[in-house]
Symmetry: C2
Subunit: 133 residues, 2 copies
DNA sequence: AATTAGTTTAGAATTATTCTAAAAAAGACT
DNA sequence: AGTCTTTTTTAGAATAATTCTAAACTAATT
């Protein structure tokens, strides 16, 4: 997937050359990369940059809600550019992570018995398993 | 809460002195401790033991399904003795983690649009937020 | 242009966790 | 009990993801 330069915007965040290219990498290859995978990839582009910068960019995106972190056990954190609410399925055969959308109109509070007064700022749902066939 | 010695059993696992006492610590103080918190606590009991042993015991319990790991961002892994299916709520004001049960008869597949053929072996649901009042 | 504020960078530091290999404990058998 | 075998515990070293530091650079502002 090709992303135009003017689409590389994160509201409220100054888009430097490095941030643009990291964001482009996330949008163009939606494969939930880790910081170091992303860093390796950046080295192959015409915007090589340091690993610290990759971490700095990702942190900025997460703070601004444009990117989500995906935590799977103790594995390196992976990053997801899909900013609509969703969960993740970790296929143990392939190692790949797939986005899983919420069913229409459904909400975590339909699944869980939340104590009264609970105000949720972040939801992380991670499934592990395999796909038959 | 007091737990009798004969309740300190995990099916299929040899219960050594150390394993019994770590398991007892988890059952008696259900507060989702990290390995190092648990280690500090063990030092105050009459079964002080090494940090490596705490990790080894916890790993054995997790393998045997008696204990669940709780991953919250990059914080140290926390351990939960509640072996029925549930999620976790991380109260950002207090830092405490609370168990959140599934609503009666509800299932992740009621909330999420899982691709056909998906076989789930592990579910981790972690919410972050605060409680008003 | 000069000043200021924010960003990038290399490399060092941190730290949760895992590994190693030797000692201790537990189980099996006699 | 005593011997043999397997598993567990342990201290300390190693690993590796992430964060920190402080200097160089870039971008925005006056
Ligand atoms: Mn990639
Ligand atoms: Mn405790
Ligand atoms: Zn995703
Ligand atoms: Zn729990």
């Amino acid at each position: 997937m090709k992303v135009q330069d003017h689409q590389l915007q994160v509201p409220g965040l100054r888009m430097t050359k490095q941030r643009k290219e990291v964001y482009r990498a996330l949008l163009e290859n939606q494969d939930h990369p880790s910081a170091s995978e992303l860093h390796s990839y950046m080295q192959t582009t015409d915007s090589p940059m340091s690993l610290a910068t990759v971490y700095n960019c990702l942190e900025a995106f997460v703070e601004h809600g444009a990117v989500k972190q995906v935590n799977i056990d103790r594995e390196p954190t992976r990053y997801c550019e899909n900013s609509v609410q969703h969960g993740h399925f970790h296929d143990q055969k392939t190692g790949k992570i797939h986005d899983v959308n919420f069913k229409n109109g459904m909400n975590v509070s339909d699944l869980l018995d939340l104590p009264l007064g609970t105000e949720i700022s972040n939801i992380e749902i991670t499934l592990k398993g395999s796909i038959s066939n």
